[in-house]
Symmetry: C2
Subunit: 355 residues, 2 copies
């Protein structure tokens, strides 16, 4: 999804991919195949790049540090990225009032001390609900510690809703936030977003944006980052960071003057950032999540005829049940109407419904 | 510019280009190099395409007809395209009240009969002011007839402004128009567009859209077409057709729910067409026209800092004075403010101004 703004800005993209089936490799000429975990591969790849970035957070921090020491410009930097890669870094960096009660535990005793019910999180590698366990008893949590070694424990928070704030920051330190997005989760995976978050007061939205800007400065972000938060009454707790253009910001492609993908490019190239205004009072996005249905093109005949305002984005991925294959966005004035339109289109394309 | 919607829709593009320097060849993986005027080349290229289209109008009609007869799906068809390729076809097809007084002339006598002042147009191959001559005397026009053979003569029309109506039509016959665009020309080339046309009454805009829809049906258009018109009081005269996404519709990328490029894809794939609503009260586009300045990237530091709402589109072309290298778009409520912003950015990027 970074291809479109890169073409518009005349910025040449070069991609290192695991295979030609990867989304980016399909649409960027001359994709290089190789392992992003191999130092020599990434070093060779970096030779004719002005700046390197990533579309996931799994690039080893050590590899990034080595290349940074060799003078390769990588954004976000290893020091920033570690806060999204390692959940303990984020918790240690945040002011305590922004976190739920938490602890690092590597023993049964530490879990006992923390108490149940609790959330256990893998310190590294979680994604879309993987690496997060809701434990009713201490025993369940201890079993995870035995399996995983050191883990992050967090109290169970009875939140009213989840929101995400998308924030961009350039090397110069210029920063920009978009309106606060409410994220609706299913099975631990973001399913739908509504922007601006319809159930938050203006005061709370302002505070959420302020928190995101502060974290961006704190971690020395360069690029785009999503800060996911829980809303409990008038309190906001930070859940986690995604240090890249993120699912919670996909609405910006069709719903904002500057998309998160263009903004990420501008930030890592140290260009002035673009306006983050919405193009309508509300933007709603719904994910297209795979079912058994493999033809995602034929549904266009129905969904486009039903809704001429619908914007569809496919990711070029092989269909697998439960996999995010694309998303749809609609913009307009009535949030509940938009939610129905987006959900219908996403479910019809994916095959959840057939009329 | 068709790449972005094609990626979003999951439609694979394949391009036949003259050289790897062409804009489309730079951004579409696996470009095939070859001559679009060579039947065998295009036939071979067409083998694994569901539908063929073009980003200029110079593909020989005979070649298209041959492939159509062989069952290749080409949109727009040769029968439609001829109205944009050959100016005499358009004049013959139009109801007389929609044309200025005109004649085909191949002799001095015919030019004398028509009288001066007059406009002489090459019947084929004109583009961006080339192939059009403003003749004050009959003698000048006769000289052109001697050089060119058969030409189109048109009366000089004292128009107040020029407008373009962008229209799309699918194979099913579904059609859609965008708001009427005022086009501001310099040296016979479109320089700036303002949408909706600020100086036209709603009645005249409706009539212009109606004319474009009627021509789309008349020529059996499949795809996107721009109908350029002169406004004289409350009269509208058709100047010419561009049967492809057109400069006068570039504002739709950032200013409309559905861009002309997405709509062209939807029309030629016979998908339902998208909504053509504006995303703001006005959208203004200005072309970036080459000067001696060759670095079009460095100006971003200034223009983006000055105007965070600016959208820039580069075409990846080598800089040549007078060549269209890109465009900028701004959307908002105040048309004259938008015009100043767009003109400043376009002129600063191209090097016409330096502050």
């Amino acid at each position: 999804m970074m291809v479109s703004p890169a073409i518009a800005l005349g910025v040449n993209l070069k991609v290192l991919a695991d295979s030609m089936d990867e989304s980016a490799a399909q649409v960027i000429p001359g994709a290089i195949l190789g392992d992003y975990r191999d130092l020599a591969t990434v070093r060779e790849f970096a030779k004719d790049c002005d700046v390197i970035t990533f579309d996931h957070e799994h690039v080893p921090t050590g590899l990034i540090r080595t290349l940074e020491a060799e003078g390769v410009r990588i954004q976000p930097s290893a020091d920033a990225l570690i806060h999204a890669q390692d959940k303990s870094y984020l918790r240690k960096a945040l002011e305590p009032s922004l976190s739920p009660r938490w602890a690092i535990a590597a023993s049964a005793e530490e879990v006992h001390d923390f108490g149940a019910p609790l959330i256990v999180k893998a310190i590294r590698g979680g994604y879309d609900g993987r690496g997060v366990w809701n434990c009713v008893t201490v025993e369940e949590a201890i079993e995870l510690v035995v399996q995983l070694g050191s883990v992050l424990l967090e109290e169970v928070v009875a939140f009213e809703c989840e929101v995400a704030v998308l924030v961009a920051r350039s090397q110069h330190g210029q920063a920009a936030v978009w309106a606060v997005t409410e994220t609706v989760q299913a099975d631990g995976m973001c399913n739908e977003t509504i922007t601006p978050a319809p159930n938050l007061t203006a005061e709370l939205c302002g505070r959420a944006q302020q928190i995101a800007l502060e974290i961006a400065g704190l971690v020395n972000l360069v690029g785009v980052m999503a800060v996911e938060m829980f809303v409990i009454g008038d309190r906001l707790l930070v859940n986690e960071l995604a240090m890249r253009p993120h699912n919670s910001g996909h609405w910006t492609i069709d719903g904002s003057i500057t998309s998160q993908f263009e903004q990420h490019l501008r930030a890592i190239l140290d260009l002035p950032l673009g306006a983050t205004d919405l193009l309508a009072p509300f933007a709603v996005m719904a994910n297209v999540v795979g079912t058994e249905k493999t033809n995602l093109y034929r549904p266009y005949l129905h969904v486009f005829a039903r809704d001429p305002g619908l914007k569809v984005h496919q990711y070029g991925k092989t269909v697998r049940p439960g996999r995010k294959l694309g998303h749809v966005t609609v913009i307009g004035s009535n949030a509940s109407d938009l939610r129905q339109r987006a959900a219908h289109a996403a479910d019809y394309i994916s095959g959840v419904i057939d009329e």
